[in-house]
Amino acid sequence: MTVNKELIEKIRRKIVSEKGDLINRIYYEEGAGLLIEVSRGNLREIAYYVHEILDTYLRTVAGVDERPIKGVFSAYYVFGLDGYGLNIIVVTHMPPEDPKLPSITDIVPSADWYELEMYDLLGIRFSNRKLYRFVLPEDWPEGVYPLRKDTPYNIRPKPVKSQKQVLSGPRIPVGPYHPALHEPEYFELYVEGERVVDVEYNGFHVHRGIEKLGESRFTYQQVPFLAERICGICGFVHSVCYTQAVESAAKIEVPERALFIRSILLEVERLHSHLLWIGVACHLLGYDAGFMHAWRIREKTMILAELLTGSRKTYGINLVGGVKKDINNDKINATMKTIEWVENEFKKLVEVITSIPQIVKRAKGTGILPRSDARKLSVVGPVARASGLKRDVRKDYPYAAYKYVSFKVPVYSEGDNLARLLVRVDEVFESINIIRQLLDQLPQGPIMSEEIEIPENAIGVSSVEAPRGEDIHFVITGKDNKLYRWRVRAPTYQNIPALKVMLKDAPLADAPLTIASIDPCFSCTDRIQVVDLSTGKRRTISFKELQRYNICPRCGL
């Protein structure tokens, strides 16, 4: 990440002159950003200043147990200065006996989940807000915080009785746990008749303790393999994001050819992911022919990925300092042929999809996310771009080989489901275009850097534009060839809170498409609970069944 030095100095001076008396220390660290150390009493004021006056958005928050090295708990609030490619990191420390912070959710609404997560996993309390069990299972005992350094990664505490209150009123569960097709995630929709009034999210069923594993059991070069398994759809995004974060913390120069190969694979992954989503969207709209066609086209990109990396998914070719597998001329030719075929077939499919009035009518004007809400909630990726925010990490924080190619960032202002569909359709064509340019310019040279030395206690922040939006990894390096802290923030994390706005006052029948329209890691919304507020009746129905409110003629694919 290269940022204009003068610009940093200008911003630094601006902050010092306006808020200098509230800041303990301000300094620039290459690979991370502009760090502002504040005491916890001034956190709210500085957060307001950085978020509102400097016009930034919250990218991630990392709570760190720094007791073994600094004797404190810390919280790193990473804000992004849109369009400048600069991170402003607000750091605050807490004494170990009283880990407590003022909540900033009223200033930065998107901080809500981060605070809950810090409370759950690190035991940091927040004043002026409601705190509840969020990530960990209900039967997890109080007072065991897995991300604290004195908690072993393989701890298996005995289950305790759940504290959760059972909601009153008749409850008719239709089918037990129901992840048919989808990941186990869980939404509660509150409805009045057919109108959605509110939505609640109850997730983290797939919490596997990845961050803790990366900090304890794995070494630097093993973590990319773990990172790939965060998500089976956009896994390469995570491994690139992790390696970049470590590389920027340790200031490792990566050979150009490796950067090109990474970019090519990222775009191949985007192709398969967008085709997958377009297929699922068609399926949710009851247009199964479109679903099958999209997946027929997508299969070629999977075969292409296998040709380039050796695996259909979880490519496993990424390492800190470069990549393991090269691309030769035969592979370049085969790739060119495949993407041409995909382009032609996809063009035909798009023509059909966009000319079917039933599809367009269902998608147009539903699930609207206005621009102002999109900004306030710090949404990312196609969701942001469909609401008129020109936010694309590939342009804003150029990484890998994206500075060598020219491409358009599709932006629509409508903010509805159709806009989100069209953004993804445009991006498929842009991806094909990017792959072509990268293959044409592929430079010669090594694919792995020779010298890899990683210093201790260096901070690295890196972001990658995943198919679903911006993915951010925050690392602090440690000793023994291991990470000290690894914070992963996937794009869906930022986008799910926006569903509250999108679903409000919408008809129930539009809910499945709207929920899927943020592409929550392959519409992981398996089960939806419908509560009829007018009668107080609560029943649980599956996502599949909710589809029956639509025109879905056959359930079960």
Binding site: P137, P176, H182, W295
Partner: protein, 167 residues
């Protein structure tokens, strides 16, 4: 139900098309999209009569993917209890087979072996289990796994007793 019918081979009961239920117990999605791949045009498992259903009560076979996380465990047990017998399970992917890369993390209880112990305590019987390793399991392997389970194809490995060290 007659206890005796469970003694028969599944292939004697399930002769025609087999209905599958997809159960993600906390996996990363890679195996899950490969399962979908199996059902879409390129592999098109529906030509063998393999069809995805929305309810475990309709299912002949459960496609289990992912390590069993602590949060999904009670729900997984309930789902498997709802499957009619003979209860057939295909453990797909490295995580489902043995917990995979997560096997000793605080967030998961392990793979299908750990789940089997819990199921045993709760009186849920799995009548037949076939492992499909891979990370993720390839679509061909998933189809092959179903064929092995039904007795159409022969398994490539023999059953041998190994000592499993359980923490």
């Amino acid at each position: 139900m007659v206890e005796g019918c469970f003694m028969l081979k599944p292939s004697n009961i399930l002769k025609k098309s087999i209905w599958v239920f997809h159960l993600n117990t906390g996996g990363c999605n890679a195996c899950d999209i490969e399962i979908l791949d199996v059902l879409t045009p390129y592999f098109d498992a529906e030509r063998f009569g393999i069809r995805l259903v929305a309810s475990p009560r309709h299912a002949d076979l459960v496609l289990l993917t992912g390590p069993i996380t602590r949060k999904t465990l009670p729900k997984v047990v309930r789902t498997l209890r709802a499957v009619p017998r003979p209860r057939l399970v295909l453990a797909i992917g490295a995580c489902a087979v043995g917990g995979g890369i997560w096997h000793d993390s605080y967030g998961v209880i392990g793979g299908i072996e750990a789940l089997k112990r819990v199921l045993e305590e709760q009186g849920v019987v799995i009548d037949k289990l076939v492992y499909v390793p891979g990370c993720p399991a390839r679509p061909e392997a998933i189809i092959y796994g179903v064929a092995v389970l039904l007795g159409i194809a022969k398994p490539k490995v023999k059953e041998t007793e190994v000592e499993v060290i359980v923490r």
